[in-house]
């Protein structure tokens, strides 16, 4: 027998337990989570602020406040800040979230003594200059206009409006007029209200030792004083409008985004649901991919995924397909839903998806910075690394019966919000 048919034995995953962070408290009370990892002399500092889109008085405020930070402080103008960052080969990026926003500094460890004071100035004393504000606002507006042309974006926006309901904070998207109704005064007051140490947390990863933490404490935290938190978040009940919602748009492809709200991340059947999602559309060999791409060729890709946020969790399915295949894709989706409800997933397939998902978890810890990112996404939902261990154990213990029961409960196409953007 040719050796090429002599398959190597596949071994089960070794138990995977990421090292927990070292937690310390800075001089002004800010908590710092340190993840020492990797052998490159690089470091990432994430300053996480409870100042996301759910806190903003009007669209764009949280995004522009964060983006404008590095455009000028009382000590340095935007040109100087940009030059210092570039000269040291460093990056200072702002990411806007629903509940938290993050300012991340990535640099070579040896440049920290130069760059942390710069970061401190940007965070402590931003001035929100008019000129830079106008340029950035205009660039964002153009980006917005461009995105409005993409069927993928249109489908995603329509989807979230109907999944959460118009009034829900997760369904608030900028509109043309929002770009006219914003000014630097709004940003300044948002900054004053929300950028306080009591609403901040630090995550540091890479080559992190005591001296790194000392530098951060000394320059970023000492003298930046604690004020009481202002981050109010009100509860909000989603108002889902299930069924098809169609946006007409010219083009050669149609984008489809479908989904519904499901149990939260800390629910006991969440890990099993992730497994069901895996079987359905969570990896390259999933049911949806095999049927709709690999068997029929209707699309370049189709996937399903679970999105967990503080105010709710949903399963989403996304694809872009030729306009003429739109109905066929929806039919095949419904067909795969039904199949999972009526037939048990074969053991070999179930085991394969379990192995894939636990491998995927290990793979996500790639590089020195990823560990902090993963921890942070758990932390935002009030969880920590213990979750991962329990999650993998529960996912692996899930039976085909459980998957079928979950499919019967959660894979009813008539319960889904289906957003469609394209030419009919």
């Amino acid at each position: 027998m040719n050796q090429r048919y002599n398959i190597p034995l596949i071994l089960p995953a070794e138990p995977f337990r990421p090292d927990p962070p070292l937690i310390s408290e800075m001089n002004n009370g800010i908590k710092l989570y340190a993840f020492q990892r990797g052998d490159q002399d690089i470091v990432k500092i994430d300053l996480v602020i409870r100042a996301g889109t759910v806190h903003q008085p009007q669209p764009l405020v949280s995004l522009l406040t964060g983006t404008l930070l590095k455009e000028g402080s009382q000590s340095f103008n935007s040109g100087h800040i940009a030059y210092q960052l570039d000269f040291h080969g460093a990056y200072l990026e702002f990411t806007n979230g629903y509940h938290h926003s993050t300012l991340s500094l990535v640099c070579l460890t040896r440049h920290l003594p130069k760059l942390v004071p710069l970061l401190a100035s940007v965070v402590h004393e931003p001035v929100f200059p008019e000129k830079e504000f106008k340029v950035i606002l205009e660039n964002r507006r153009q980006e917005f206009l461009l995105n409005k042309q993409k069927v993928k974006m249109l489908a995603a926006r329509t989807f979230s409006k109907h999944l959460w309901g118009n009034a829900h904070p997760y369904a608030q998207h900028a509109k043309d007029e929002d770009f006219e109704n914003i000014n630097t005064e709004v940003l300044k007051s948002f900054y004053k209200k929300h950028y306080s140490p009591s609403d901040c947390t630090l995550f540091v990863s890479g080559k992190v030792d005591d001296s790194v933490v000392d530098i951060i404490d000394k320059y970023l935290c000492v003298g930046w004083n604690q004020e009481s938190s202002n981050a109010q978040e009100s509860a909000c009940t989603p108002k889902t409008r299930k069924g098809k919602h169609i946006i007409e748009r010219d083009g050669v492809q149609t984008a489809i985004k479908a989904g519904q709200l499901i149990m939260n991340r800390n629910a006991s059947d969440y890990p099993s649901f992730q497994l069901l999602n895996g079987v359905l559309g969570g990896y390259f060999g999933s049911r949806l991919m095999r049927n709709i791409r690999e068997d029929k060729g209707y699309t370049y890709g189709i996937s399903s995924y679970v999105v967990s946020q503080a105010l709710g969790t949903y399963i989403g399915i996304h694809t872009e397909t030729a306009n003429e295949y739109r109905e066929k894709v929806l039919q095949e989706m419904a067909f795969e839903f039904k199949k999972l409800q009526e037939e048990k997933v074969p053991e070999t397939e179930l085991q394969m998806v379990k192995n894939y998902l636990s491998g995927e978890m290990m793979r996500s810890f790639d590089g020195p910075f990823a560990i902090a990112d993963i921890y942070r996404s758990l932390w935002e939902l009030g969880l920590n690394f213990d979750f991962i261990e329990t999650y993998i154990a529960k996912m692996e213990a899930t039976s085909a019966d459980t998957i079928q029961t979950l499919a019967q409960k959660w894979l009813n196409i008539e319960d889904y919000v289906i957003a469609i953007a394209g030419k009919h």
Binding site: A13, G38, L146, F284, K296, Y300
Partner: protein, 401 residues
């Protein structure tokens, strides 16, 4: 074969780079290398579904095709690294060549063509700019192909011929990086690949691109919100001494918010909403791009003139030592950041080994160090010469109706 040990995570990357890309295609069958990449996942006599064992082993796999290369990679939990060796060796020996797989993948690639190139605003820029800049060299078509018909007409015989003339152990580099010791990696490679016979690989004879002697331009109108200017200039090859100088030139112009184009033309004068200068990264003499979307308050001609002034400055004035130092520091730092991922390391090692020596990866930052202001000026004069420019005016229908 190349190996690199990195125990940052308990994973191993198995990367196999074949020295074949879109430039090796028959001009009547463009897009073939990329279509073929899809077919490599269509199964072999021994492994009907390539992905099954990968996923069972907790692994992930993918591939990409460029004008120069086709690269396949897997990342696996370290205890299952051998699965990657086995699977890659298996499909190096032969494929199932199923007509159904060809039918389906032709259609999948057609949808990819639409999704990525036709149904995106500005998505067809590459399809328009390449044939303007290149008259003879196969870089004139994109990896997706010159047109959809070329993909739709591909036959199974052509697929087989392509496989047997390009997919061979003597035309590939295997690169292993991650939590695996060298002796184990080499033993596994020997075990799975050692007996695969060499094949007759078609020698590469690419037509030379004649030197461009006159500026070229085309104009199109599309349903996009802003007017775009897309310029391409011929530049040196990946292995030329001037490659790193060209890279630094692109950083002086547009690396970061303190760069010349961003500071002057985006931030201060707001002529452009977004403006970039970058090198294509091609192996053969390729293209240096300057691309931007124009603020509607300015005419396209005016905007282009402003870019031209900056390019002229690169040609006429020596760059200041501290500005040059800034972009060198930046290049060094990006190199370190990139190396923080085992899969990147595996890919880069395979690339450098294909270019002649994996050890080059250690000298990359040095090559930037020795670039002088005179070099910057000399290379800028070669690249930014007006006769060397191909310009695509990509106009917005609504702004120009």
């Amino acid at each position: 074969m190349v190996h690199h040990f990195d125990a940052c995570s308990p994973m191993v990357a198995v990367n196999l780079l074949y020295n074949v890309g879109a430039k090796d295609e028959n001009p009547q069958r463009t897009g073939f290398a990329h279509l073929f990449e899809h077919l490599m996942f269509g199964g072999t006599p021994g492994v009907p579904v390539y992905d099954d064992p990968v996923q069972e082993a907790g692994g992930e796999n993918n591939a990409w095709t460029s004008n120069d290369f086709t690269n396949y990679y897997l990342t696996l939990p370290k205890q299952n690294a051998e699965i990657g060796f086995w699977l890659e060796a298996d499909r190096m020996q032969g494929l199932a060549f199923s007509p159904k797989s060809l039918d389906v993948q032709r259609q999948v690639v057609t949808e990819e063509f639409k999704q990525r190139y036709l149904n995106q605003p500005y998505g067809d820029v590459g399809l328009l700019l390449r044939p303007l800049a290149f008259e003879k060299h196969p870089y004139k078509w994109s990896t997706i192909g010159e047109k959809i018909e070329h993909i739709q007409d591909a036959t199974l015989d052509e697929v087989k011929e392509f496989y047997y003339t390009h997919y061979a152990p003597n035309n590939a580099v295997l690169s292993i990086a991650g939590d695996i010791q060298a002796d184990l990696a080499f033993r596994m490679a020997e075990k799975w690949f050692g007996h695969i016979e060499q094949r007759q690989v078609k020698p590469r004879m690419l037509p030379l691109e004649p030197k461009q002697t006159k500026r070229r331009e085309i104009t199109v109108k599309r349903d996009v919100p802003l007017n775009g200017i897309f310029m391409a200039f011929h530049m040196c090859s990946r292995t030329s001494m001037d490659y790193h100088t060209s890279d630094l030139i692109s950083d002086i112009l547009s690396g970061g918010n303190s760069s010349r184009l961003y500071e002057k033309l985006v931030k201060n004068d707001a002529v452009f909403v977004d403006l970039n200068a970058y090198i294509g990264g091609d192996i053969e003499p390729g293209l240096f791009y300057v691309t931007g979307k124009v603020n509607p308050k300015f005419s396209v001609k005016e905007a282009e003139q402003r870019v031209r002034w900056e390019l002229d400055r690169m040609m006429n004035e020596l760059v200041h030592a501290t500005e040059l130092q800034k972009v060198k520091n930046k290049a060094e730092a990006s190199h370190v950041f990139e190396e923080a991922h085992y899969l990147n390391k595996a890919m880069n090692l395979a690339l450098y080994e294909t270019l002649g020596d994996a050890g080059m990866i250690n000298n990359e930052t040095d090559k930037y160090k020795y670039v002088t202001p005179m070099d910057i000026q000399r290379v800028s004069r070669e690249i930014f010469c007006e006769d060397n420019a191909s310009v695509l005016y990509y106009l917005s229908e609504s702004l120009n109706s």
